[in-house]
Symmetry: C2
Subunit: 322 residues, 2 copies
């Protein structure tokens, strides 16, 4: 069977089956956005995201934006655990005809993110390849049992997100379509200049409220499905509460795009979290104190799967292998 | 300018110039085989090696060997610092037509190494790409100031290696040439089934003898050149003491291959180290106690560059970008 027939999720399940492990591994392959490893009284958090020119960098992205995107994708997986960033590594595959100046600008985009999140670019590798490839690695640290895990959700928890859904996927559509519509800068910027919700993740983890968390780069519904699956619960979303920007609504209306697309497509680096109901006000306050937002969009209930306005929905999301 | 014109070393120098850093970074990008980061009273060691089908996996390599090679290349960079392995991550780029079974066998080769070195495969990523790409990440830990660094060599130090030089590069030649010469299994196995010198690196670091270290996967002379450059010293090698196996000598003789090729080509995962002269016997004893070897092949002297039998030699080694 070909990998494209199997798809990303089943492939990961296959690759991570029966792996060797030991007692220091708290969260291993296939479990969370990042691995958690016991280290000197704390937990070491490690994550890796790899991207390829043919799949991830549409024309219209400047080299600085490419560097930024790879770095933010990795930083966002740290953010989803609530870790403090520590350092980043980047390994490059570079075609022989690639321009040095372009690579320098990619590195500049990376270094900007490293500086913004106080996570120095400390190492990596460069090799010759057929297409540009960039593999990022983000390392972080977190106190014992503080980390947000996909498996932490419990019936009764509040479901919340850290910001608007759908801006980035529409921004990507505009770039792919070569559209230069004035009034939609917010959407394009959401794709080209993303931020990772590190402060927000940290503020949630600090509360030690047993929160579950994941970023929504493969789609809000996909992430809801993952948390539901790993926690053995149902996630029930209230469509009217999901924050969608005025610009995104307007663009979707003008281009005849259904709202479901915004919830199924990724590219947004917001976090989806679940927090115990009686702790939600406190956790939300802590996130707001650091300048962030935590917007209630649903509840965790008994059962399985994801409900949107009471109806079961598919949670396939974006599959990078198909 | 194209990256292939610039070459790997200058490219790395360019990419790592003026990077953001902070006080927790002990060894950053472009300095050592692995990054060293202060973490909870110890040092966290992190390294990444990326490989691509078109450059690194010649026909004749089984999927298990491919997995093993990527894992060992990463493990070897940890070994060169003297760290204890902690965990590994692997990110994959996979062409849509790639066979699932082949990928499963690659993962098996990886997991074998993870088990041998007690470094669980804890995470990573999978994405679609034009050619098979595997980015490994190895994480380790080491006590403060214990790590072998490229910049630690001092005049008067003994220069030593942990094993035979040249077996793997000849093994690769045999595979590339489709040769199945009986009596040369040692050479082929050195390429297909490499080991990382983790115990040896650890035994050296434990002695806290201010040793310098690096693996020799880009060639013995290249690594000697790097230690000389980073330490501001001259490394003077005694050709007659460099351990070359009987099989390698015989193969080289039969195929008219000069000995210099063995010293300039890589693929061996031995360590090149320098140790203070008065501590060498003790350090060698510690390496032997754990079943390893430490073979004296020269001395560190004042000056610059690398001498082989008193003559200055080039130290370009293998450049993966050219």
């Amino acid at each position: 069977m070909k990998t494209s027939e199997l798809g990303e999720r089943k492939l990961i399940a296959l690759l991570t089956r029966d792996l060797y492990t030991n007692r220091r591994v708290i969260s291993g392959a296939g479990e969370d956005d990042a691995a958690l490893i016991s280290f000197g009284g704390k937990e070491l958090v490690a994550t890796s995201d790899i991207m390829f020119a043919s799949t991830h960098f549409p024309r219209g992205m400047k080299p600085e934006h490419i560097g930024r995107k790879v770095a933010i994708a990795n930083m966002s997986d740290l953010a989803a655990t609530g870790a403090s960033p520590l350092a980043m590594l980047f390994s490059f595959g570079i075609p022989p005809q690639f321009e040095v100046e372009e690579l320098r600008r990619i590195a500049r985009g990376i270094d900007e993110v490293c500086s913004e999140y106080d996570a120095p670019f400390v190492g990596g590798d460069t090799k010759k390849s057929r297409e540009l490839a960039i593999c990022g690695i983000a390392l972080g640290e977190i106190g014992r049992n503080e980390a947000l895990r996909r498996s932490n959700a419990k019936a009764g928890d509040v479901v919340a997100v850290t910001g608007e859904i759908g801006n980035a996927t529409l921004g990507l559509r505009m770039i792919l379509g070569g559209m230069r519509a004035p009034g939609y800068k917010k959407l394009v910027d959401a794709f080209l200049k993303p931020k990772a919700r590190v402060r927000e993740g940290r503020a949630i983890a600090e509360c030690r409220a047993g929160a579950a968390g994941m970023d929504i780069t493969d789609g809000l519904l996909f992430s809801a499905g993952e948390i539901a699956r790993m926690s053995g619960v149902c996630i029930s979303l209230d469509g009217s509460r999901i924050p969608v920007s005025e610009e995104a609504r307007r663009f979707a209306r003008e281009h005849n795009i259904g709202e479901r697309l915004l919830l199924n497509n990724g590219e947004d680096y917001e976090l989806l979290v679940t927090v115990k109901g009686r702790r939600f006000r406190e956790v939300k306050g802590n996130v707001e104190d650091c300048g962030g937002a935590l917007i209630e969009i649903g509840r965790v209930t008994r059962g399985r799967g994801v409900l949107l306005d009471g109806k079961m929905v598919g949670t396939e999301g974006y599959d990078s292998m198909k």
